[in-house]
């Protein structure tokens, strides 16, 4: 009798264990409770881990806003996008950066309601600037919300970031995807708003920054969207893909892994071919991890990138290396180069209080 009960209990425990992790597979080994709760539980943890920094709000719980009260009359800077790119997008809510952010599902844009509520959360009476990456869903839904709020009498403006040179040639530059360069847009817009500039001035200076910003990425391995349960793309163990997007969008070429210096050289060459900076130009540089690539490897890349830029007569006036715009556990890196003048440099160097911002 006792043995029978024991066997039943063991079977029950085994069944429960199997049930609770049935979404795990060879392709997905993640520290999560369930794919469906991935975003909401991560946001809850982010807010708890950085107490006093983030407030989670909105009818779907998908708006992240500053926990501290924002000054009245300042331009609100708001963004939004799919989850899975932390610290991008929601991680950059904080003083001198974003006022609020709408959060979608993993790699899927936020809903109309989430965006509408984030714009309202970011509004302090000085108008609201949406700074968003160039993806169809995001631009369309932000556009709809902006049209609706404008019709209600709010001052709204949008800057669409399209910095990924691998996603379209210069003739169709406006169709390019937005990637890590958006970090510079957040910093510039956030600092300009904090300084008290008007909505049109904040928009203009952010557009100036993005007009001179170019990025390119290289992927070494894929990541797995929890709800899909399998890698977003297949990449052979010894292969890399130059120009791949942050959701696994097709890049420029796929081939054998090369030494870091060769990869850095190709990335810088492509960036400068596109940006065409004249000698003596001051630039800001970002060497960004896509998630799994460690800081050591970023520094190896940065070293070569810096040498190459200086060899071209460019002056690195501002630099960042680290995890700024990721694709969960994707291995790889991106390099962004932005032309700067004294105004942009001042805004990049302005103070920012945000747990996930590392200058």
């Amino acid at each position: 009798m006792a043995r029978g009960f024991e066997n039943t209990a063991v079977a029950l425990v085994r069944w429960i264990r199997t049930e609770t992790i049935e979404w795990q597979s060879e392709d997905m080994k993640k520290l999560i409770n369930s794919p469906e709760k991935y975003v909401d539980e991560a946001l809850a943890g982010m807010s708890l881990a950085h107490q006093g920094a983030y407030k989670i709000s909105g009818s779907n719980g998908r708006v992240v806003e500053r926990a501290k009260k924002k000054p009245r009359g300042k331009v609100g800077v708001v963004s939004g996008g799919g989850f899975g790119h932390l610290p991008l997008f929601a991680g950059y809510v904080g003083e001198g950066l974003l006022d609020a952010c709408a959060v979608g599902h993993v790699f899927a844009g936020p809903s109309y309601d989430d965006i509408s509520e984030s714009l309202k959360a970011g509004d302090q009476g000085g108008g609201v600037l949406s700074v968003i990456a160039n993806y169809g869903g995001d631009t369309m839904v932000f556009g709809m919300v902006n049209d609706m709020l404008t019709a209600e009498g709010k001052d709204c403006a949008t800057v669409i970031v399209a910095d990924d040179i691998a996603s379209a040639d210069t003739h169709r530059a406006e169709t390019r995807r937005g990637v890590a360069g958006i970090i510079f847009a957040f910093k510039v817009a956030g600092a300009a708003a904090e300084k008290g500039l008007s909505l049109s001035e904040v928009k203009a200076v952010t557009e100036k920054a993005m007009a001179g910003c170019r990025s390119i990425g290289v992927a070494l391995s894929a990541c797995t969207v929890p709800q899909a349960g399998q890698p977003t793309f297949e990449l052979e163990d010894d292969a890399i893909e130059m120009g791949m997007g942050i959701h696994g969008e097709k890049g420029l070429w796929r081939g054998a892994l090369k030494p870091a210096d060769e990869i850095a050289s190709e990335m810088v060459e492509r960036l400068l071919d596109d940006l065409k900076p004249v000698g003596g130009t001051k630039v800001a540089v970002l060497v960004n991890s896509l998630g799994a690539t460690p800081l050591e490897e970023l520094y190896i890349l940065y070293r070569k990138v810096a040498h190459l830029l200086e060899a071209e007569g460019l002056k690195i006036a501002y630099s960042l290396a680290g995890e700024y715009a990721t694709s969960m556990e994707m291995a790889g890196a991106s390099v962004s180069v932005m032309r700067v003048d004294d105004e942009l440099l001042g805004l990049l160097n302005a103070p920012a209080q945000c747990p996930l911002w590392r200058a």
């Binding site: 009818s59 779907n60 709408a102 979608g104 790699f107 899927a108 844009g109 936020p110 809903s111 109309y112 309601d113 989430d114 965006i115 509408s116 993806y135 169809g136 869903g137 995001d138 369309m140 839904v141 556009g143 709809m144 996603s167 169709t175 969207v225 709800q227 899909a228 977003t232 959701h247 696994g248 969008e249 097709k250």
Partner: protein, 215 residues
Amino acid sequence: MATVFTGTDVGAAMWRVALALVESKDRFNKLDAAGGDGDMGTTLATVSQALLADNSLYSDDVGESLMRIAKTIARTSGSSLSAVVMTGLITLGKTWAAKHEVAWIEMAPALSNALETMQARSKARLGDKTVLDGIARVARNIEGISTAEKMSVTAQQAAADALAEFRRCPAIVGRLRLEPSKGVGTDDPGMVAFYVTVLAMTGSLSRRAVDGSYK
């Protein structure tokens, strides 16, 4: 022969469409994975489940019923396809605001008008092989039709014809724009979703249409 429809008819059609889209989830994910991020089926199923969860009766007000569907999409999805559909529904909702009966003959001009707003929002052109090409074909072919029965047959055929015609075309927008030739021989997932929607809306959805063996 039915020559008019009401807001309650809109609710009933929505119910059939939502069930069909939930059932087609895996198929749409697979189709989308060929050129997108493979989540279109999940997105449509999420929106559809939210629509099905709201099971109170739809009123006879056609505009209100269409706006009610748009609001649920607004709450649950931020995809480009959802944005396009939402834009179309809002336009139709405004066109038929406070109307308790709409004549079927009004469908073609209203759909053409909605198509214009969807094009403006998405910046996609006709011929780009998107859901808009399916809608355009239906809007054109149902012109002058005044009965539900004829509308149903004509719309189904038009959506099927658009799919067949564009199957051989390259993909101009979306991820496949980087290598458009890859789109040749495949169906645009949004156009297939529209085809399934038309079949479900007209009550003619078969197993063959859901699992994709209609080709």
